[in-house]
Symmetry: C3
Subunit: 211 residues, 3 copies
């Protein structure tokens, strides 16, 4: 199991797994849409679910990679992808749940990436980046493999929510709040920003000072 | 030279090089089709031939990377790509040979990736994944660079053949068969499954229990 | 700060930063063209500017990555991308400067990648590859994320200029020239080849001995 130091480990781990399931579902759906076969769908699911954390661990020289010591990741992804491929006709029943799961995953992945980087001795700015990367690189790899323009870069408040939560964490720590509480606030705030963005159709604009 | 422990090293090394040549040819063909220049074709060839092993070595924290200590890889890829670019008009004469080479490469890359992971102390499930990755990530990178949807994920029995061979290996080991023999069986079975899939136009279906 | 051993460090560092700015601008322009939001543009800029060096450092097992210890990279990229997004209407005034900056970046990135590999004990052929990778992989990742076929592989003299400069360096060293002078010659020659290629519209042909 990855080393999550300050927070109720088991809760964060469960939220992490919910995020992994959301990624596995999203990966399988897009892969099926592209006509990939059974193992192709599983592979895209894995890229989506563990791609971000893999890249983070490689960048931080953190070995073995998190999914090599905790086989639950690979098992959960494979079973989720197979189940979805078999019961695809039930998909519309989970459509709304998927968005919720996805937002949970965004929050959990961001917190984990951020904490891992701090635990490795990274500076705050690098830790914020690692939180973002953990949360979005998996989805980018999925889209790149499937020859799509990455969703996370264009349509929705993903990166912004992750950065917002990390900044809130740093602010709280600076104010003397305990790490466990700050982490919880980071987690909840990322989730809330993402859900509000979905609910009210928020988009980050392009900025131009004049036309 | 990479450390292949149990098997007649020299044979596996030769099969590996045949696979590298097949990858270099496939990479150059697609790159030429896309209008890349001489060095662009060589670069795509390299991505195709050593991309999978590079990613495996990085994931397993295995340094220096296999092609950094054995320059034969880089030299063989460069010469193959240059030769193909110069004598492209002879390509139709090697079209059939390429499929054979490609299947040999799939088998050799899978066995090598699988063995390397075991030698690094990985669990069986991770070793199976590393065999698959070594065999297919190069082709995926080639297709992604060239803006194509990865062939290995959709059309043909690639991943399945690799997983099948690895499972056969694990079964044989469990039955007490010597590692050298088990490796040979893994190699031959992957090659056989791939060639049979080509010969009889096998495809892995999408699975759906109901429409 | 990365360890550049033999050369007037500060000059190379400045040229490096000019290249980083050029990459950040090119990344932001393409990302805006694709309709990415503010943070999406920044992320593509980062991929473009530090992607090549990140991959080089990972391949050479050189940790922490160069931009983790010198935060100037991340800061310069972010500010450049934000400034360009705000003052996009002034872009046509820097169009010509961008080509110049880009050529400076190609030269600086190549020299740095080449030197870093030599300093890590790589052989000459690997060092040449690392120079090329440092210079072009960032642009390739940018194009892949944005679903474009990588420019550096098709249209222009990028790889060739980098390889030419590295070969010149190796030749000069063999002739007994001091490393500082050889590095300067490598830097200038890459820049010159690239600018001449732009000026006279040079392209590397596809090679075919017969039609």
């Amino acid at each position: 199991m990855p080393t999550y130091f300050f927070f109720p480990d088991i809760l964060l781990y469960l939220l992490d797994m919910i995020g992994v399931i959301a990624c596995a579902i999203a990966g399988t759906l897009l892969a099926q849409h592209k006509g990939f076969d059974i193992s192709g769908c599983i592979l895209v699911s894995m890229a989506n679910a563990i791609g971000g954390g893999t890249f983070r661990d490689m960048a931080l020289d953190r070995h073995p990679l998190f999914w090599m010591t905790d086989l639950n990741y690979v098992i959960v992804i494979t079973l989720t992808s197979l189940a979805l491929q078999m019961f695809f006709h039930l998909y519309h029943k989970i459509d709304r749940a998927l968005r919720l799961f996805d937002a949970i995953g965004l929050a959990a992945f961001s917190v984990i990436g951020f904490k891992v980087a701090l635990a490795q001795g990274s500076s705050a700015i690098i830790a914020v980046m690692m939180g973002v990367w953990t949360a979005i690189i998996g989805g980018m790899i999925r889209d790149v493999i499937c020859n799509e323009i990455p969703l996370v870069l264009q349509r929705e408040i993903y990166i912004t929510a992750s950065v917002f939560g990390a900044c809130l964490y740093l602010l709280l720590i600076k104010m003397g709040v305990r790490t466990g509480v700050s982490e919880f606030a980071m987690l909840v705030s990322i989730f809330a920003v993402r859900m509000l963005a979905l609910r009210f159709d928020w988009h980050l604009p392009s900025i131009r000072l004049v036309k």
